[in-house]
């Protein structure tokens, strides 16, 4: 068998609602796209409650009539606000029950955390209380060298990596979430450490590594070649050591790197606009990446607030956005187009005008390098399976987080 990434819970039928509970974080990761982190913008209970009431009051609205819901908590570092989160989750559960809402027993609470205060009593109490409806991903970037290269503590003084503070919580996390996946982010300086980092994460017991290159324009001359070499070396290690049977890495996905048709394969990559994000001021966004603290050069894209509700006109561009309308002719004609990702927020931030309809292409050469390494991986794996008398695996799909 070949280990697949699990697809997200109810990924096609669940509404994702993100509470930006704080814009504070213990860390100051060098690649973090959150340019406006601060300690002041913490969500109040009053704002959170009004947001929940608005959402649940509009149960049958097209924005909230999905079969299931994922309440996502993000920061900064969400667990800094564990008391508020606990209150929010308790209120959601009691209101779903009281209202006999169709999301009752079809909800999930989701977290992406830096893992630093994962072991603390308040966090653990929350986990114990909600374990059956909980997904938690801890971000650890790989080896200590790779992790500490970017994921450093904030503050003045000498740079201090956070690896030791995170890795100590991995066993506890995996004991509670045995299928736990981690998200690894690659920037230019990280490239030499990709192979050893993925293998290191496997050695920690993490079986699913979702990994992606940052979408920002950070790449230097020759990065694509180094990236390709790392991925091919990683492919060798995974296949030669039979790791593919039990572990997954989102870099390798069978059906990518093919030309795409503008009529038959024209869906947008990104789910911005399908989601809803709420910040401390009670403003609504199509995704967290459109909140002001995520944007370098553009104004926040606010689609409403807890008082006036969602302005559906401001969602129309997202819901009608397709691949080809936002792509350059080079992207449309690209012979390895499939699997090339983009972030709508980064597209907006990097665009020449305030639009989501201009696709950023900084990732182009990295995608092409990935396609070449991916081809190598599958050719090598198929040949191995063939020689060993095993059948080719069924088609795989991978869930690439943005």
């Amino acid at each position: 068998m070949i280990k697949n990434n699990d697809s997200s819970w109810q990924s096609n039928i669940a509404k994702t609602i993100t509470f930006i509970v704080t814009k504070d974080c213990q860390l100051a990761c060098k690649y973090c796209y959150l340019v406006g982190k601060n300690t002041k913008e913490r969500m109040s209970w009053d704002v959170a409650k009004q947001a929940i009431d608005y959402i649940l009051d509009n149960e049958y609205d097209e924005n909230f009539n999905h079969d299931s819901v994922i309440f996502d908590f993000i920061g900064g570092e969400p667990f800094l606000e564990i008391e508020l989160i606990d209150q929010i989750c308790d209120y959601i559960k009691s209101e779903l029950y009281r209202r006999n809402h169709h999301w009752f027993n079809s909800y999930r609470f989701s977290f992406s955390t830096n893992g630093i205060n994962y072991h603390e009593e308040k966090v653990q109490r929350f986990i114990e209380k909600n374990i059956t409806h909980l997904s938690i991903g801890i971000t650890i970037d790989g080896t200590q060298q790779k992790h500490d290269l970017n994921r450093i503590w904030k503050g003045d003084g000498p740079e201090r990596g956070s690896y030791d503070d995170v890795v100590r919580n991995i066993p506890l996390w995996l004991s509670q979430f045995p299928g736990g996946a981690t998200k690894v982010t690659i920037s230019s300086a990280d490239i030499p450490y990709i192979k050893e980092s993925v293998l290191h994460l496997y050695s920690l017991g993490i079986h699913e590594v979702n990994i992606n290159c940052v979408f920002e324009d950070v790449w230097e001359e020759g990065d694509d070649k180094k990236f390709e070499e790392q991925l091919m070396e990683l492919a060798d290690a995974i296949i030669d050591n039979d790791l593919y049977k039990d572990y997954a890495c989102s870099f390798y996905t069978e059906h990518m790197g093919k030309p795409m048709d503008c009529k038959l394969e024209n869906n947008n990559w990104c789910g911005a606009g399908q989601m809803l994000a709420i910040d401390a001021a009670g403003n609504f966004y199509p995704c967290t990446r459109f909140a002001q603290y995520s944007l370098r050069d553009k104004k926040a894209w606010i689609i409403g607030n807890i008082h006036s509700g969602i302005d559906k006109n401001k969602l129309r561009p997202f819901l009608t956005l397709d691949r080809c309308t936002q792509s350059t002719q080079e992207c449309i004609d690209c012979e390895v187009a499939s699997g090339c990702a983009w972030c709508q927020g980064e597209n907006y931030d990097a665009a020449d005008t305030p639009t989501i309809y201009q696709r950023a292409t900084a990732i182009c050469k990295m995608h092409k390098a990935r396609v070449r390494a991916n081809n190598y991986y599958w050719n090598k794996l198929y040949r191995k399976l063939e020689l060993e008398g095993e059948e080719k695996p069924a088609e795989k799909t991978f869930n690439l987080n943005c």
Partner: protein
């Protein structure tokens, strides 16, 4: 392809469309910029439209303007009477008190609160001017009940148009008669076919963009036109509009950006208003096809929606 150059002669030149004129000091275009703009229009082979303020132009401007073939757009209360083809009226009262000539085009800017006056006004203007362009300035604020009222108003206007056809009169009403002859989109096309030069010497898709943010220009007379993401002003890059057959719709890029934050995406309200007009045009077209054996390739089929966005999952 660029076809039209609109030159605003002053900051407080009359608004002839959805945007409101937010006067910024009443600056006139300089004679240097005026001459350079005319030269730009000539070398680019553009049709030029001058937009006037209520105030009289400074001495010498008229002579420069007359060096080029052009169209004048004037407020109805302009302090100096020019021989103008296009006259702008703000509200019903202004147009009631004005004597138009048969060659003139009236632009009537009204709010939703005056829509029910339209049948009476159009009856009064019927046969007295070439065309009436109605601009509903607060189109983005329509409510569902107001859509119903507007539909009823359009039915009344449609009856007048039918009577006109019967009588052989041909005063056009943009809301209903344009769609009768259109076989493809015929929109404002600001930013694609039309650019506006403001008195500061800079280009904008239209004056509305200037009043919103003068920093977001499309180049100037020295650097030339620099239209970033110009494709977004084209129909092919408008996901909703390219599936639509409300061909007469203004498809206002400024209103689009105001309501949806994207120049290529119309609001629900703009779409519904355009479809109510389209549907009434369809009834008129059916009438003239049936009763006059009118032979035309124009077709306005019956459809089940008023906002094409509702169909987007089928695209």
């Amino acid at each position: 392809m660029l076809k039209y150059l609109v030159i605003q002669l002053a900051d407080d030149a009359v608004s002839y469309c959805h945007y409101e004129n937010v006067t910024k000091g009443g600056q006139f275009i300089s004679t240097e910029n005026l001459k350079a703009a005319i030269r730009f229009g000539m070398v680019e082979n553009l049709n030029i439209q001058f937009v006037y303020p209520k105030r009289a132009l400074p001495v010498g401007y008229a002579e420069i303007i007359e060096t080029i073939d052009h169209t004048k757009i004037l407020p109805c209360d302009a302090s100096v009477v020019y021989d103008s083809h296009i006259v702008v009226f703000n509200g019903v009262t202004e147009i009631e008190n004005y004597k138009l000539s048969k060659e003139q085009i009236a632009i009537l800017r009204i709010g939703r609160n005056e829509i029910d006056e339209l049948p009476r006004i159009f009856n009064a203007l019927n046969g007295k001017c070439a065309r009436v362009n109605v601009v509903i300035t607060d189109i983005d604020k329509f409510t569902d009940s107001e859509f119903d009222s507007y539909k009823a108003t359009l039915t009344q206007l449609g009856n007048t148009v039918k009577a006109n056809i019967l009588a052989g009169d041909n005063t056009q009403l943009n809301l209903l008669t344009d769609r009768l002859v259109l076989k493809a989109m015929n929109n404002c096309n600001a930013g694609d076919e039309t650019v506006t030069l403001m008195p500061n010497g800079k280009f904008y898709p239209c004056a509305g963009f200037y009043y919103d943010n003068a920093e977001e220009d499309f180049g100037d007379l020295t650097r030339g036109l620099q239209i970033k993401n110009r494709q977004l002003f084209k129909l092919d890059y408008a996901p909703i509009c390219r599936h639509c057959d409300s061909y007469h719709c203004r498809r206002c890029a400024w209103l689009n950006r105001k309501t949806t934050l994207e120049v290529n995406t119309p609001s629900h309200e703009q779409c519904v208003v355009a479809h109510l007009e389209r549907n009434e045009s369809g009834r008129i077209l059916q009438y003239i096809k049936d009763d006059f054996e009118y032979n035309t390739e124009v077709n306005i089929p019956q459809i089940s929606y008023l906002d094409p966005f509702e169909e987007h999952k089928k695209w």
